[in-house]
Structure formats: C-alpha cells, structure tokens
C-alpha cells in the first residue's frame, strides 16, 4: 500500500532515437533498437497477465453461475444474485461482526502498544540494551503462523500447557483457552501482539529519529519533565506517521489474516472465529460454491478499497498529510 514511493508520473527523459516519419514506423525503430529490453520484459509481463490479471477477469464469476466444465466465459450471467443471497444470509451479519470485532481489538490494543513500545525504546540511551531488545522483539515477525499456532497449542494445552497450568495455579480454575469460544479473540490478539508489535516499532522508531532535538533542549530549559516532553514534542513529532499507519491499518481492517484465523479455528469456536477470508475458503474451496464465495471476496475487497480512500480523505480534511 505504499503507492507514495512509486514514481508513476516520472517525466519522460531523452526522446526516442531516430525520429522517423509515421508513428508505426517510429515505434518499429524504437522496438528494434530496444528489442533486448522488450525480451527481458516479456516473462514479467506474462506473469502479470496470467497470475494477476486473469484472476481479476475471473472475478466476473461473482456475477455468474460458474459451471466448471463451461469455464468462466460460457457460464450464465445471474447479475447480483450471489450478493443478494449473501446479504440475506444470517452468516453475513456474523462474519461482519466477527471481522470488525477482531479489527477493532487489534486497532485498539495492538496498535497503541506498538507506539508505546517504540516510545519506550526511544527513551533508552544504553545502546546495547536497545539493540538487544530490538533484535529479540523483531524475531517473531519472521516465524510462520503455523509456528505461532503450534506454540499456542502447546502453551495453552488443556491440563498440560505451561500457561494453562500457570493460570490454573493463580486462579484455581481450568480454562480451556483453545476451544472455549470466549477465549478465541483474546488469543488472536495476543498472537498478533507477540508476532508483530516489535516489528511494527521499526517505522515509529525511524520517525522518532527525525524529531528535532533542539526542541527537547528548549523544553528542558523551560523546565518540562520527561513525560511532558514526550507528550508535547515527541508525539506531535510523529503524528503524521501515526496517522499514515492508522490509515493503512483501517484500510486493512477486513483482512483479518487468513492463515492465523484458519489455524486457530476449530469445530467448537466457529461461531466467533469465522471471518470473511476463512468463510470464502470454507464455502468456496471445501464446499465448491465458487461463484458465491467469489462474490463474498469481491464485496470484502471493495469495502477495503472504500475504507482506505475514505480514511485518507478524512485525514486530509483534518489538515493532515494523507497517503496520496
């Protein structure tokens, strides 16, 4: 989502060689001159055509009744039938609720924690401690969700996992973290915090490094303490970064992370665990309702695009630099 770095509008330099009469002729000369470059370009262009744009064309089955032996083209059109079915289905409300609750839990808990951790790391002047802690907290980001889920299964296992036993000795009750639906969301947020909070600090630490140091000196002379400096200088200094990251997070709100949710879903917690991404998988891949699930996926990505443009416009209205 970092379209800001892409210089799509870069000015054309150096005119094409040998201006010949006629556009077609000119292009032929240009093409002949650069034939090796076009040859190099070919595999990549083919890749985008086949693996990125063909599936976009395949999205049309959301408006069709996809029949495998007829293919995408010949399957009959049904208009918005699948969308209507989806909105009328009780699953819709449940999915929307589950997805939004997880998204808001992540935004409300994991997101601020990332900023707090970055601020705390930024206050450390003992560089060996800072680097060591950074090295440690970045590691989980590189582990797969399969490993994160497996670690959770071991740590919280009923009657056996260390965290199960620890909670049991403190509270005196057995908590079935892995299959009790009430514990599904806390576990997901906990995993998210463990895996990505450290990694998320990188961007804020980079922004913190650009905060004007002179302001701190001035504030110290004015007698501002540690917390007031953070509140009045540091936080305003990284405000635009916080807003950009918030926009990105809100734009990604419906992308709950297929792998994580799928791996933590089981027969007992389906009611709270199902989100759009996993629903598309269960209904589409395992039950074969291709058109219907494509419609669900399309709905989700369209809402995502609206969200990211919407929050960006909102950020601009509050006179902040938006993303685009």
């Amino acid at each position: 989502m970092t379209t800001s770095t892409v210089d799509v509008k870069a000015p054309e330099q150096a005119p094409p060689p040998a201006p010949a009469p006629g556009r077609r002729r000119r292009f032929a000369v240009h093409f002949a001159h650069y034939k090796w470059l076009y040859l190099l370009l070919l595999p990549g262009v083919l890749y985008f055509a086949v693996f990125r744009y063909a599936p976009m064309y395949g999205v049309s089955i959301a408006f069709k009744d996809y029949v495998p032996f007829l293919g995408v083209n010949a399957s009959p059109w049904v208009g918005f039938q699948h969308f209507q079915d989806f909105f009328a289905n009780p699953d819709f409300g449940r999915l929307l609720g589950n997805t939004l609750i997880l998204a808001f839990l992540n935004l409300g808990i994991a997101f601020p924690l990332t900023i707090v951790l970055a601020l705390l790391l930024n206050e450390v002047r003992l560089s060996i401690l800072k680097r060591t802690v950074q090295t440690l907290v970045y590691i989980p980001h590189f582990l797969s969700w399969t490993i994160v889920a497996s670690l959770s299964f071991l740590l919280f296992a009923l009657d056996f996992g260390p965290l199960f036993l620890f909670i049991n000795s403190v509270l005196g009750t057995d908590i079935d973290f892995l299959s009790d639906p009430a514990w599904f969301r806390p576990l997901i947020v906990l995993q998210e915090i463990w895996k990505n909070t450290g990694w998320g600090t990188i961007i804020f630490l980079a922004a913190l490094a650009t905060v004007d140091q002179d302001q701190y000196e001035a504030a110290i002379i004015d007698g501002a303490g540690r917390f007031r400096r953070v509140w009045h200088i540091t936080l305003p200094g990284i405000r635009s970064t916080i807003i950009v990251m918030l926009i990105l997070a809100i734009g990604q709100m419906l992308n709950t992370g297929f792998e994580q949710i799928y791996l933590m879903t089981n027969a007992l917690n389906r009611e709270v665990a199902d989100v759009f991404d996993t629903y598309v998988y269960f209904v589409g891949i395992t039950q074969g309702a291709y058109s219907y699930s494509t419609a669900v996926g399309l709905f989700k990505s369209l809402v995502g695009i609206v969200l990211i443009f919407g929050t960006n416009a909102l950020a601009k209205r509050f006179n902040q630099s938006g993303l685009f």
């Binding site: 210089d7 470059l37 582990l143 889920a149 635009s240």
Partner: protein, 290 residues
C-alpha cells in the same frame, strides 16, 4: 544533546530498562521452552510444567522424526521448493525491473500503472484457485512458486534502485560494445548484490513459511510441505474441525511436536542475523516518505 537527568528521570530509566529487558525475554520464552522440550524425555515434558533446560538430554524426538518418511519428504520438499522459488522470483523480478528502469522505453508507464493497480486490487482466493486448477497446476509444486513469483513492491523497489545507479556506468559499457543483457549481467547485478541478497532472504522466508498455498493447491498429502506437516502434528485431533487433516492419523507424542517446531523454526533463526542487517533499511526504502 545533554540532558541532566533528574531523580525521577533516573527512576523512570531504571524501570524502563527492566521492563524492556523483561519484554525481550518474554518474547523469546515460548521458543526457549520448545527448544528445551525437544531435547527432553517424554516423561520430563509431561512431569514438569515449564523448563528452559532439560534434566536429562534425549535425542529421542529427533531420532523419531528423522526416521519418519513423511517428515523427511516434507522437509526435503520444502527446502527444494524454497530454493527453486527464490531463484525464480529473483530472476523474474530482476529481468522485469531492469527494462522498467529505462525512462525512455515505450510502454513503460502503462506497465508500471498495471503493476501498481495489481497492488491495490487482486482477483482473490477463488478466481486464483480456479486459474491454478485450469492451468493443471493443482498438486504441482509450481503452484507454490508461480502465483506469487513477482512481488509488485519488490519489483518497484528494485526498479528504483536500478534507476538510481549512475548512468555513466552503462554509457561507457555501451561504448565498449556491451549489449543490454551484458550490461545487466556484468555491471548492474554485481553492483546490486547486497540488495538482491536481501530480497532473496525475504523471498526464501516467505516461501518457507507459506501455509496458504499448500493448503489451497496441494490436496495430495504425500506432497505436503513442512508447514502442512507441522500443522498436522501439532493440532491435536479433538480440536480439528477445519478439514484437511488425515482422519486415520494418530497424534504423536509431545516431544515430537516440539522437535518439528524446532526444525521448522531453525532455518529462520539461522538466517535472522543476515535478515536483520538489511530489513530496517529495506523497509524504510519502501515505507517512509514524508
């Protein structure tokens, strides 16, 4: 900048240092436990709630998994798919980035716009699955490699990197009669070795960790990758309601779960120092601007 620390400031510093050290240790603790457990006896794992050092060393779990054909197959498969996939991704990305770095190439703007659009919008899970199916790639390892063969973000970053290299290098090589491919191979690639090494590491980690592609495209469990195998081993049978696990499978003993997690994690940890050297920089190129 000199900050004269007050008493309150010093107390805060001390508390902050202790807190961060605890956070660092807590982050690592689950893995330390699993690592220790993988070298412990089955009896010790069930008897002791938590430990970071086994009382009695045992290689039993490793002996067991390395004598299991399904595990060996998954491990070898994953290593091969990761290696081939990384090379394919690098080649495709570099060969596409190089022409796109030439500002006077016709059609460049159009292709770049299409690449950017592909970042914002994708066909999604089902249309991509149907494409793979129509291409006859179901249960083929190519299905784990090709669909994500070019990452648009990396493509743009590498393109920008090529663009920023001094143009004189290429011009003098051209005077000496080098072809475009010769320039790419003999001049640009040696210069971009560190950048490409970074991307290669990230690609490799991505393929190694991938769970969704094998789940979607490999239904034949003799073709499973390590992540799929790990999933089957650690998800105890009574929790499985989400399919794709062999019903005849007997859940293994605890130590084996520990050992498989360690094997799946170790390559990442070994390469982590190399990753860490570059990722902060790499991520900043891509993300922070203004």
């Amino acid at each position: 900048m000199k900050i004269h620390n007050t008493t309150g400031g010093r107390i805060f510093d001390a508390a902050n240092y202790v807190f961060l050290a605890v956070i660092g240790v807590l982050t690592l603790l689950p893995f330390v436990y699993v690592f220790a457990g993988s070298f412990a006896t089955e009896a010790e794992i069930t008897r002791r709630a938590f430990f970071v050092w086994p009382e009695q060393f045992s290689l039993g779990a490793y002996e067991y998994i390395f004598s299991t054909p399904a595990f060996i197959r998954a491990l070898v498969t994953t290593v091969l798919v990761t290696a081939v996939g990384t090379v394919v991704q690098l080649i495709l990305t570099v060969t596409m980035a190089y022409p796109l770095a030439k500002r006077n190439l016709r059609g460049r703007q159009l292709i770049l716009s299409l690449v950017v659009f592909a970042m914002v919008f994708s066909g999604g899970m089902i249309p991509t699955f149907l494409l793979i199916k129509d291409l006859g790639l179901l249960n083929s390892y190519w299905a784990l490699i090709l669909p994500a063969a070019i990452n648009p973000f990396s493509l743009i970053i590498i393109k920008n990197f090529f663009q920023e290299l001094p143009a004189e290098l290429e011009e003098s090589a051209k005077m000496d009669g080098a072809t475009e491919i010769g320039i790419l191979w003999r001049i640009l690639l040696p210069l971009s070795k560190p950048v490409l090494a970074t991307f290669a590491l990230f690609y490799a980690v991505g393929i190694w960790n991938d769970f969704m592609s094998p789940l979607l495209y490999l239904s034949d469990n003799s073709k499973w990758t390590l992540q799929m195998y790990l999933r089957q081993v650690t998800a105890s049978s009574d929790l499985l309601g989400s399919g794709n696990v062999d019903p005849n499978y007997i859940p293994p003993e605890q130590g084996i779960k520990f050992a498989v997690i360690v094997v799946a994690t170790l390559p990442i940890l070994i390469f982590y120092p190399f990753l860490q050297k570059h990722f902060a920089k790499g991520m900043l190129i891509g993300s922070v601007k203004g």
